[in-house]
């Protein structure tokens, strides 16, 4: 969720307030620069990409939903700009691994969506993602309130890092059965939430592999 301060800043920028634009840059330029520099060591190129990120934000303002966290939105734009840069400069690793027109690079960077993705609407994907994000957000909030960082760690390792139950159990210092129980309960809640929103959880592999 975006902060009130960010929301106000965006409103002012929409009214072409140059001071607000300056504040936005002062607030976010440093972290964006650090984010880009993680992937690209050329300082001048980093500066260009950060600049393009801000310009990209401004040009996408008519479509920007104020409820979306501004920081996350800016990081997403920066990620796209990094990929564009690596592609332009021929430094994307998939380019080195590629050998023909059907290679990974073309699959990854093809600007035109395939017919199947056209058939499956973007709007529906957004609805599904939002439902999962809401369910996960509620779970995480509840665990945070209880100070239950162990559960958060377990689920983050399983879902974000894709670790196996046994590795998570070893890392966190609990039994595999406990990990499996935490996973089962969380997946059940998320699936129920998605179904409750009138959507199918089947498009999420983690939700139908139990």
């Amino acid at each position: 969720m975006t902060t009130d301060s960010d929301r106000l800043l965006v409103q002012q920028i929409r009214q072409c307030d140059a001071r607000a634009w300056e504040h936005l840059i002062a607030r976010y330029e440093g972290r964006l620069f650090a984010f880009v520099h993680r992937r690209i060591k050329d300082l001048a190129a980093c500066e260009d990409i950060v600049q393009e990120t801000f310009i990209g934000f401004y040009t996408s303002l008519p479509n920007y939903d104020d409820r979306r966290e501004l920081q996350t939105y800016l990081f997403t734009i920066a990620s796209h700009k990094i990929t564009d840069y690596l592609r332009r400069t021929g430094r994307h690793p998939l380019q080195n691994a590629s050998e023909g027109p059907n290679d990974l690079l073309h699959l990854k960077l093809d600007d035109q969506p395939a017919a199947s993705s056209v058939a499956r609407s973007h709007e529906r994907q957004v609805l599904e993602s939002d439902a999962v994000a809401r369910a996960l957000g509620q779970l995480l909030d509840a665990w945070r309130e209880q100070g239950d960082h162990e559960r958060i760690k377990v689920m983050e390792l399983l879902l974000v890092k894709g670790w196996a139950n046994k590795d998570v159990a070893k890392f966190v210092g609990i039994s595999e059965q406990q990990v499996a129980n935490i996973r089962f309960a969380a997946v059940k809640k998320i699936s129920e939430h998605v179904k409750g929103a009138g959507l199918s959880p089947d498009v999420f592999p983690e939700l139908h592999s139990q």
């Binding site: 600049q51 801000f54 990094i82 699959l107 894709g162």
Partner: protein
């Protein structure tokens, strides 16, 4: 062995620099991994999601900037401190690492270089606001 979710994070360019380098090296060396990546791309094309990707994209477990600042100052309670450490080091969240680097830089200096860089970004983009 590179987990499927790490590959997905690689595609989204949201891995830490260390993990990105590991994935890139593995991709160059292993055809099976490239095949796995191709499968992942095809799944995305079919509109399949991943709960992990939703988690990452929405930064659902990322500590707030204030928490990261308190972590840096060493004033967080042991539980939250341990979690922030885990999120930064074990999960390797690139967004939070960037925030932390920025906060560290702010603590150390607000150099004329950084000020100049921000001015350049402002002057190169502020004209957009007047064009409306």
């Amino acid at each position: 062995m590179i987990a499927r979710e790490v590959l997905a994070a690689y595609l989204d360019d949201t891995l830490s620099d260390v993990e990105t380098a590991q994935v890139e090296q593995a991709l160059r060396q292993h055809e099976t991994l490239r095949r796995q990546l191709r499968g992942l791309l095809q799944e995305r094309d079919r509109g399949e999601h991943s709960v992990g990707a939703v988690w990452r994209r929405n930064r659902l477990s990322c500590p707030s900037r204030e928490q990261l600042g308190n972590y840096l100052l060493g004033v967080l309670e042991p539980g939250p401190h341990d979690y922030v450490e885990f999120h930064l080091r074990t999960i390797g969240c690139a967004f939070c690492q960037a925030n932390l680097s920025d906060l560290e830089a702010q603590q150390q200096e607000n150099t004329p270089q950084v000020q100049e860089r921000r001015k350049r970004v402002f002057h190169s983009s502020a004209g957009l606001l007047r064009k409306k």
